[in-house]
């Protein structure tokens, strides 16, 4: 996030796109609702009616995967009606002309044809966004989990830059991080192209810095991304995996193919708190401590480094991941220091990264609000809002984007578009939340949201058992007939191991990030009879 969570309540205009905030980030949704209660305008762009649409001024219920059309059409209106912030562009932006040329053809009227959103609504939202000072954009995986996810992000950034909504309170570009420490994992260099602190592995100066600190020569070649690694497993180029704290078989798209590939791995270690699906293919399973059983830091969506503190002992012989990793390193002959406490690990990292150089456990322990990076020195107060003195890279670069359809569109055989996502009561693979003793009361089993029009055509009634098929697999679920989804669209949560949504999803990835298209794939739905065996032919 360029801005901070506490700033949200003071926003006057909130554009929430591809984020089911209430269910995925409930506390941020509370802040949004407080802004609305204060009188702010909330616009939600989402193919589904979500909890937040109930308090929104306008719901742009776009066709899945057509975000670029919507966003470019908004840019078109802003330029056409000359609502751009010329002074900001002059001072801080390059590439505006190319974007202006690219969006010239994206008229709201044509956007209406593609997205299904009335042209009037697109104009209204574009005007409100451009002319409101404290206007923030909030998005999450509904934007990025597409084969054109990077394009979606560029299109949003273009809106932010052409209207100068950067470096100001309660405005900015705010991706809401899905997991507790996504930000922190990236910050710490768990990336094939970056060392800690976003220093490129291909940068000689950076590499020398880390070689000096770690006392060994380092590879100058970028590594493979997680999706590419999974491809490598399938093709046999990746022969061994060390998996910490992820159930890849539940989380990765098209998991049936991956499951077959797992058998070809020569060696795999899985380190986790539960025996997850991936453990079935492991050679060694290492028991780890959970967050309540160890010390360290998490970094949240607004770059806030906060402490995790040990409250209880791990069960049995389970140990903290940081201790295990140090032992493994020493076991293969690397002289990992004998850290007495994670604060020493953090200090080692911070000393190598300008962005976090001023952050230490001892400082965070003094402030219940944590410290937001950049924080370059020991007396720096941290940075709630980024780019206040102009974009950090000097001039912000606008990148023109054009619409590309999603990789797999519906056809006669698979006529519906499936999107997947999270619900309020569960969290991702739900290894934690489904072990909450009351979970069955709130949400007992997997379900599929389907529009009444489609349900009627397929002979499916609310509560029926149904089978959902894609080119990659099939899962069973309970039909939830609702107008929350559009005609021709269905939606399923990803939480249920016994009915994995990712048996259906398409692993086709974004060209830049490799992030898979979890939000759009083609499926067919049919009712199954009461004993659940035989699919009833759907007309």
């Amino acid at each position: 996030m360029t801005n901070s969570i506490p700033e949200i309540r003071d926003a006057d205009f909130l554009f929430v796109i591809g984020s089911n905030t209430t269910e995925a980030h409930p506390i941020i949704a509370m802040e949004m609702k407080r802004a609305v209660y204060r009188g702010a305008t909330l616009v939600v762009a989402d193919p589904r009616a979500i909890w937040l649409t109930e308090v929104a001024d306008l719901h742009l219920q776009l066709h899945p995967g057509t975000d670029v059309w919507l966003l470019n059409a908004m840019a078109h209106v802003i330029i056409e009606e000359d609502l751009v912030d010329h002074a900001f562009i002059e001072a801080h932006v390059e590439g505006f002309d190319a974007v202006a040329a690219a969006v010239a053809d994206y008229t709201p009227e044509q956007a209406e044809q593609v997205t299904g959103i009335p042209a009037d609504h697109i104009r209204r939202v574009a005007r409100q966004y451009a002319t409101t000072e404290r206007a923030g954009i909030y998005y999450t995986l509904g934007i990025t989990e597409h084969t054109h996810g990077t394009d979606n992000v560029y299109a949003l950034a273009n809106l932010v830059l052409m209207t100068g909504h950067l470096g100001k309170p309660s405005a900015g570009m705010n991706p809401l991080r899905g997991q507790n420490n996504v930000q922190g994992a990236n910050d710490a260099g768990a990336s094939p192209v970056f060392y800690p602190g976003y220093q490129r592995v291909t940068d000689d100066d950076a590499r020398q810095r880390f070689e000096a600190a770690w006392g060994v020569p380092l590879s100058p070649f970028p590594g493979t991304t997680l999706p590419a690694m999974m491809e490598g497993v399938k093709h046999g180029t990746v022969k061994g995996l060390y998996v910490m704290g992820e159930d890849i078989l539940l989380s990765e798209p098209n998991c049936r193919d991956l499951e077959e590939a797992m058998n070809r791995l020569e060696f795999m270690v899985v380190q986790d708190i539960f025996f997850n699906e991936t453990c079935r293919f492991a050679d060694v399973v290492l028991p780890a401590a959970c967050f309540a059983e160890k010390d360290g830091v998490f970094t949240n969506s607004d770059r806030r480094v906060q402490r995790v503190r040990k409250a209880v002992e791990p069960p049995g012989d389970a140990r903290a991941d940081w201790e295990i990793l140090c032992d493994v390193a020493r076991g293969v002959g690397y002289p990992m220091p004998h850290y007495a406490h994670p604060r020493e690990v953090y200090a080692e990292m911070a000393a190598l990264c300008d962005k976090f150089a001023g952050i230490r456990h001892e400082r965070i322990d003094q402030d219940p609000r944590g410290l937001q990076w950049p924080c370059p020195t020991a007396d720096h107060p941290g940075t709630p809002t980024l780019h206040v003195d102009g974009p950090m890279r000097g001039k912000a670069l606008m990148t023109p984007v054009t619409y590309r359809p999603s990789a797999e569109l519906p056809d006669v055989e698979y006529p519906l578009i499936l999107s997947t996502g999270r619900t309020l009561y569960h969290y991702n693979c739900a290894t934690q939340t489904r072990r909450e003793r009351h979970a069955p009361l709130t949400q007992p089993e997997n379900f599929l949201q389907i529009h009444p029009w489609d349900a009627r055509r397929l002979g499916v009634a609310h509560g029926d058992r149904i089978e959902v098929r894609s080119r990659r697999g099939a899962v069973r679920a309970r039909a939830q007939v609702t107008k929350d989804v559009r005609k021709g669209c269905v939606w399923m949560p990803l939480h249920f191991a016994e009915a994995r949504a990712n048996l259906l999803t398409n692993e086709a990835g974004d060209a830049v990030t490799g992030t898979a298209e979890y939000k759009v794939c083609a499926v067919a739905v049919a009712r199954v009879d009461q004993d659940g065996d035989e699919a009833v032919a759907a007309r």
Partner: protein, 356 residues
């Protein structure tokens, strides 16, 4: 116009900020005014009458939570008149409140302000207990319970549900002595817009709303550990209440002190059973020749990990290995995972799980 201005509270000159109430100005100056219904996240309602103070020039006592501070104002927060008012008020609240054998307001782990305000007072009136016809409702939601006999109808919970959580699931229902905290049609919370955030429990000053999961009885040996929630990317601060080496409940730190401003969601507040779950991995497991797993010691398991990874590295190079780090683990652990991949195995094939 200056941002602050002086007023006098209990003979002390206090700087108030524009728009501040007397209660807020006093609070910042370290003068505690007792209150039930005030929550810094909510619009003042002046409902409980506990915070009444004397304002010079005003004939009646005024609620300091709603009374705006003004330049030169002279306020008294403790006097014979105020104490007399509070004694009567507290006596009436207590008469209509569930009491223990000693005739005191119920003692509960999450705190009962009525008990705190009354337990040491000797000026309470001997009022006969009132059995008000207030009722709770049958509710099969798994987390949030309501005891009408501990409710003082300050409406913090319903205002929180309106103003902060923004779902308006609960409300004051009925009239007069029947007034209670309910839902439209008195249906269970699962049938309403309730998100089960439990914020109503946290804001309740008398423990009338309480957690079904946690033991409501106080435990003097309980410890509280401040940490960060392990679910989504908001980074809510949590206070883990630990009893006998187990997490007994999760609470939000006080409003205004952390990023989550005293709020938590259903996952952060209630989904902690996994920590002490029977299915937690307790020892390392090693695959045997017949394909099954057996329990192993750490030295055995670490030796197997080292030899398995080293064999591939030495034969095919470090790039034949993949290291999947975790956005669920700490920053330090992610640092160590990439250091392991890069320094010990010479490969940049390290990526965190949320990359896809």
């Amino acid at each position: 116009m200056s941002d602050t201005f002086p007023l006098v509270i209990d003979g002390q000159t206090v700087q108030a900020r524009q728009g501040e109430t007397v209660l807020q100005a006093a609070d910042r100056a370290g003068i505690q005014i007792p209150t039930f219904c005030n929550d810094p996240r909510l619009t003042p309602s002046g409902a409980c009458r506990m915070c009444l103070v004397e304002v010079q020039g005003q004939r009646r006592l005024q609620p300091s939570c709603a009374w705006k501070a003004e330049p030169g104002q002279v306020v008294t927060t403790a006097s014979e008149r105020i104490e007399k008012h509070r004694a009567v008020l507290l006596s009436m609240y207590l008469a209509d409140h569930s009491q223990d054998e000693a005739g005191q307001a119920a003692d509960i782990a999450t705190g009962n302000k009525l008990r705190a305000y009354t337990v040491d007072r000797d000026d309470l009136l001997p009022l006969a207990p009132v059995h008000s016809p207030r009722v709770g409702r049958a509710d099969d939601n798994p987390y949030i319970a309501f005891d009408p006999d501990r409710c003082i109808l300050c409406a913090r919970c319903t205002r929180y549900c309106d103003e902060v959580e923004g779902v308006s699931a609960i409300q004051l229902v009925e009239r007069g002595g029947h007034t209670t905290i309910g839902t439209a049609g008195m249906v269970g919370l699962l049938a309403t817009s309730c998100e089960l955030c439990g914020g109503c429990i946290a804001t309740c000053p008398t423990g009338a709303l309480f957690e079904k999961k946690a033991d409501p009885a106080p435990d003097p040996d309980e410890t509280i550990v401040r940490s960060t929630c392990n679910f989504c990317g908001v980074g809510c601060q949590v206070d883990l209440r630990v009893r006998d080496g187990r997490i007994a409940a999760v609470e939000a730190p006080p409003p205004g002190t952390t990023v989550n401003d005293g709020n938590l969601c259903v996952k952060g507040r209630f989904a902690y059973d996994f920590v002490h779950h029977d299915e937690r991995l307790r020892s390392p497991l090693i695959r045997q020749a017949d394909g099954s797993f057996r329990q192993a010691t750490w030295p055995e398991a670490l030796e197997r990990v080292a030899s398995g990874l080293k064999k591939i590295r030495d034969r095919d190079g470090g790039d034949a290995l993949g290291f999947i780090s975790s956005s669920r683990c700490t920053g330090e652990e992610n640092y160590l995972m990439q250091k392991l991949a890069r320094a010990a195995f010479g490969t940049n094939n390290c990526h965190q799980c949320a990359a896809t």
